[in-house]
Symmetry: C2
Subunit: 270 residues, 2 copies
């Protein structure tokens, strides 16, 4: 099988992997690995390709998230995972911002070192059940009370797939607050260029030496392409057939799952 | 005091009044009348001006809502109140739509006569505490499962003022679902032209014979102006000083409250 996205395979030295919907489907009890994915990650590493995991996951600290994935059988370490919360903390410190946090309880420890008194901005993550009317109102009231409201959003995903169905992601609530306050959020995480480039740079590679593999046509595929990477969409996770006719983003390739992507990639490398 | 919006006062035969933020501030225990507003409604009627109340209120049936306002001392009857739910029921019937309802519990009786089996659309109102993550996900899952998702939104307000602070209105949640499903909602209620015009028509008047008085610069003032009415913003309710420099909507006048609007209007009539 010839694949357009593999034509530059001679130059490929690294892979960026989305996690949810590519490695596993999240859900009650921790979620389940997608068939062939644990093996696929192992094969990437055995082929001496560099790999980083680029996730918008904000329902847990990176430590807990990585431990969960290790328990599911994945060869993954903390240093290989890029997630929005640490990137947000960096921005908060640089700009002297004190956040009101609307995030998942399990993400709170990531912000332990950040001054949260007398908030002058709001940070919103995938808060899931914490997205109550009461909590969204509190975030709204902080924003509307600021002379220049600043909203940092940990991702802008529309939805994701859990084992029991599609769930609204942080992007939907970001849009609610944007509209209510007539402002535009600053997105930390995918598809922000800085976020992809920091992962690529961490591998000491250039974007055209890296292939992104994700299930989100806009935030994974479109985001990576804007940084100069080739990007492939898997037909797992939140993938829907209509993604292949997306009006603005065209993936460099579509594969059934991560295992198939890795199989094709390794065939073209050798 | 000369007021631009009163120049055509010789032609004015009717008044359209927003309710929340103009007549009263809603909140725990039913809310409180805005000073001078009960008297102002009485003076409008004594001057033989026609009056209709044009509200995006969707937290209660019209019956309960009107009873509450009467208890607060307002001279108001059911037939004078235009609200989105009855307008939505009309649309649902005409188009054979079976709604999944994401609305306030107290609004449910308005939809008693509507087939809600096997939903082929979503109707969203100001559901307040019913805007849980679980409920918004349910509405999302109905929409994303439809080949052509239809979302009817009972208003598109950003927020409103209750006695204990600003609260997110239905428009914020409408935007969340619009973004998640990549669709555009159909708005029933203000600022939809049809909604204003049905109230004007019910008075047997033309738009240029009617003055709208509201606290929402976009949905009250802008909406009414698009129908050919003059529109005045009160500095009560959700009013904020920056509204007077709104980038796209300029009210025909700004007044401290309903009482002042009526005082000026009646002075120009006589």
């Amino acid at each position: 099988m010839m694949a357009e996205w593999c034509k530059p395979a001679g130059r490929v030295r690294g892979v960026l992997l989305d996690i949810s919907g590519v490695l596993y489907d999240s859900g009650e009890g921790g979620g389940v690995p997608i068939a062939g994915s644990t093996e696929a990650v192992r094969r990437i590493k055995e082929a001496n390709l560099k790999v980083r995991f680029c996730t918008n996951e904000t329902q847990a600290t990176r430590e807990k998230f990585v431990a969960k994935l290790q328990n599911l059988g994945f060869d993954i370490t903390l240093g290989e995972v890029f997630a929005p919360a640490p990137a947000a903390c960096q921005i908060l410190k640089e700009r002297g911002l004190r956040p009101h946090l609307l995030v998942h309880d399990d993400l709170l420890p990531e912000f332990n070192q950040i001054d949260q008194s007398n908030p002058n901005c709001v940070v919103i993550g995938d808060a899931a059940d914490n997205f109550s009317y009461k909590n969204l109102n509190q975030a709204f009231q902080v924003l509307i009370g600021l002379e220049k409201p600043v909203l940092l959003s940990l991702g802008r995903g529309r939805y994701y797939k859990e084992t029991d169905g599609m769930k609204l992601d942080v992007g939907a609530y970001m849009k609610a607050l944007e509209y209510a306050c007539d402002i535009e959020a600053e997105v930390v995480g995918k598809p922000a260029k800085m976020f992809f480039l920091s992962a690529v740079s961490d591998m000491s590679l250039e974007p055209d030496q890296v292939i992104m593999i994700g299930d989100d046509i806009v935030n994974d595929v479109g985001g990576a392409q804007q940084c100069g990477m080739k990007a492939v969409q898997v037909r797992t996770g939140k993938y829907r057939p209509c993604d292949e006719q997306h009006p603005t983003v065209k993936a460099d390739g579509y594969v059934d799952n991560l295992a198939q992507a890795v199989k094709i990639l390794l065939e073209h490398l050798h």
